[in-house]
Amino acid sequence: MISIRGVSFSYNGSDVPALKNIDLKIERGEFVLLTGESGSGKSSLCRVINGLIPHFHGGVISGHIEVAGLNPLQSSPGLMANRVGMVFQDPDNQLVTSDVCHEICFGMENLAFSRDMIAGRLDESLEMLDIKHLRNRPVAQLSGGEKQRTAIASVLALRPDILLLDEPTSQLDPAGSQRLLASLRRLNRNLGLTVILVEHRLEKAIHYADRLVVMGKGTVLVNQTPRSAMKKSDYALEECAISLPPVVELYRNLVARGVKLDAVPLSLEEGLTVFKKILAAPLPDPPEEVGRNNNAVAIEMEGVSFCYQNQQTILENINLTIKQGEVVAIMGQNASGKTTLLKLINGLLKPSSGSIKILGTDTSGLSVAELAATIGVVFQNPGDHLFSDTVEEEIAFGLKIRGVAPRDIEAMVGSILSRFNLEPFRARSPNELSLGEKQRLAIASIMVYEPPVLLLDEPCRGADKSTRENLITILRDHVFRGGTVVMVTHDVELVAEYSQRVVIMDSGRIIADGEKREVLPSAGSFSPQINQLVKLSMGPGASSRLLTAREVAGVINES
């Protein structure tokens, strides 16, 4: 179906090739999971397959490509649209029209299909993606998951042989992405559609895939079945900077300790079979961590409610006390009020009723800028925070407005630059940085004046392994210096590994709040894969405080 031989590609004005001598063959009906760190060439490869490279992006390309009988180098993307459908990361930037049925017809109209054919395919596409009920719904009213389904339906209406998806789940909550990936699997199996899915989080999709392709620095590093790729512990998978699914981590951990296991499990279900014997006996709890936190209160919310003018209530009667030195994760489905909660804490929104105190001071009379001295916030899109001409000025801003002497500024900026690995970018424009680098810069520009409380909104969205690990190091360091961290996230594994306390929100209320080992095991789609594995292995009604592969391997080793 797809045959790529010796393909190299460089964007105009770039000395570093985005793709280097790629060889890849994909058969009809395969489900390919494509992964690799940011900037490894995944997106470029997708764009080569559907002809956007070089027809849209320009650049220099060499090598031989054949896709569904066509040569994308010679066929325009318009012609390729019949063979290759592409779904992009940001749902808002790919929906062209303003309601679902217009969106689905857009491509068919462009290709001048007959009206009867369009009518028929419109119904079929709606059915395939289970969105018949959305037919006349305005795009603006759809959830992220519904938007992505609409985007998929609109490319499937052209009946492509191949469906390319560039990180389609990065903006969805766990339940939404699970539903989306399950529909992809169904389309792949029932229609024989060839699917190429770009995804950072392997555990979401690896059990659906026939093949795993890992890219790094513009080359293909791994190209084999997921099972053999996951099994080979000698393989350079560690060097590929991708995070493995928790069940695979556990498998590798145990194998490394000499435990004999049949096959490497790829999903929770397979894990239940593979680890049956080992997990049959109840496991002890993990060792208790540091004792009670007796620090002073950092954030205190009392009876806080919030609604926009005369509109429905978004937050209702929130009571939340967070102490200094705590790491708190706030979780919940999309639109459950998490981000609103953050905005209330840093003063962007004022509560309709109730009070908020930060380090003992009531915030009602303070402006957002004044509160910024004690509360640093990094929102989902780190680029939003940046406004200076150079990286250096960006960091110096927080010091300048606080009247720090120029001599001190230079020294402080210098030390922050090296602490955050931003030294090489010192004189560059923030706009030129990658997403991970922008995030580091956004945090660095706050940390330079050391606000005691740090709030983060979805810090790991679309982040690869090294960006995640880097972030965790930065946050650990902040807490070590006595700081407090509150983060809103969907990333269950990040929470399991790093936070201490979890707050779960639903429809504007707090429905669970406590130590992570108390809350996560009973949190439904927010409980970590390993915890579900241990609980299910022990039988119905069992509970466990184990959350990560490392913890399970640790307690097994002891017993």
Binding site: R47, N50, L52, F56, P77, G78, L79, A81, N82, V84, G85, M86, F88, D90, D92, N93, Q94, V96, T97, S98, H102, C105, F106, M108, E109, N110, L111, A112, F113, S114, R115, I118, P138, A140, Q141, S154, V155, L158, Y308, Q309, K343, N346, L348, S367, V368, A369, A372, I375, V377, F379, N381, G383, D384, H385, L386, F387, F397, G398, I401, N431
Partner: protein, 315 residues
């Protein structure tokens, strides 16, 4: 620099409600808006101009878009006051001096404010308000997709029509961006709530670089997505969605065209003109002027009346 949050809450894009005006087809509203714009541009007479503006109000009312309308009319008035100010200072026409400065300003000399340019400026604002009022009906009661269909129905070139509708489709997204970036930068300590107006305004400008790069990114991604769905790949494209005409739509188009025809005939046959310079002409209307006023006052709001009757007929 009005508050973007207000703008966002008034949500300056299509209002998804079900009113008689919403139910009219998009071609009707496009023709009606076009008619109002033509009349507002041609007519000089203050009374008739005012009537054109007032005649759009029943449609706004029945379409239940007061909140949005009020917001943009407010902005138009602010903009208009600037126009009046500049016009009063810079327009050399007119003979009735209402104020003269006792001091001399470099370049300009003694500033003289004359009545005629002020009145002329004021009625320019009325003209502007009539046009904006008509466009608000188009923006807030017609779905962008339907607008596109209507433009194609009227044989406008596809790519031009597409660009026009895409820009309306992205207004809410861009306003959302502005709010998000403003929030992010305030959170970093950029003061936008306290201090002098100038200081706050300068700080607010800091969102521009982010906004620019973000919009550019959005544009490129959107173009990619359109290209990947064969946009512009064929010379002829299918129009799957056709504009549906009910009796009321056809009647409405007929009435608007008739009003336009009568008004244009009266205008070009002379007798309805008005002179602001050198001194204001009397406000009295000729017979032709009276007929024109009556036709406009009865004709333009008929959109609201017809839509309302059609809805009653259905119930």
């Amino acid at each position: 620099m009005h508050n973007f949050r207000d703008m966002y809450q008034a949500s300056l894009s299509y209002q998804d409600t079900d009113t008689p005006i919403h139910r009219l087809n998009a071609v009707v509203k496009l023709v009606w808006t076009g008619g109002v714009v033509v009349l507002a541009m041609l007519i000089d007479h203050p009374i008739i101009l005012l009537l054109v503006f007032l005649s759009t109000l029943p449609v706004v009312a029945i379409g239940r878009i007061w909140r949005q309308w009020l917001f943009i009319i407010q902005m138009a008035i602010w903009m208009g006051l600037v126009v009046v100010g500049i016009n009063s200072l810079a327009n050399p026409g007119g003979i009735t001096v209402i104020w003269q400065s006792w001091f001399s300003v470099p370049v300009l000399g003694h500033i003289t404010i004359r009545l005629e340019p002020v009145i002329y400026g004021l009625f320019m604002v009325v003209r502007l308000m009539a046009i904006i009022s008509a466009f608000s009906v188009l923006t807030f009661t017609v779905r962008p997709d339907e607008l596109l269909e209507a433009m194609l129905e009227m044989r406008l070139p596809y790519k031009t029509a597409m660009v026009a509708t895409l820009s309306t489709r992205f207004v809410p997204t861009m306003l959302g961006d502005v709010m998000r970036i403003t929030d992010a930068q305030r959170s970093r300590g950029l003061e936008m709530d306290k201090g002098s107006v100038f200081f706050r305004l300068r700080n607010r400008m800091s969102i521009l670089p982010s906004m620019l790069s973000l919009s550019l990114e959005r544009t490129i991604q959107l173009a990619e997505a359109m290209e990947a769905r064969a946009f512009g790949s064929q010379n002829k494209r299918t129009r799957f969605f056709k504009v549906a005409y009910r009796k009321v739509d056809i009647t409405a188009i007929g009435v608007i065209l008739a009003v336009l025809a009568v008004a244009l005939y009266l205008f070009f046959s002379g007798g309805t003109a008005y002179e602001y310079f050198p001194s204001l002409q009397g406000l009295g209307l000729t017979i032709k002027g009276v007929v024109m006023s009556v036709v406009i006052v009865l004709g333009l709001p008929c959109l609201a009346l017809l839509a309302w009757l059609a809805k009653r007929g259905q119930e």
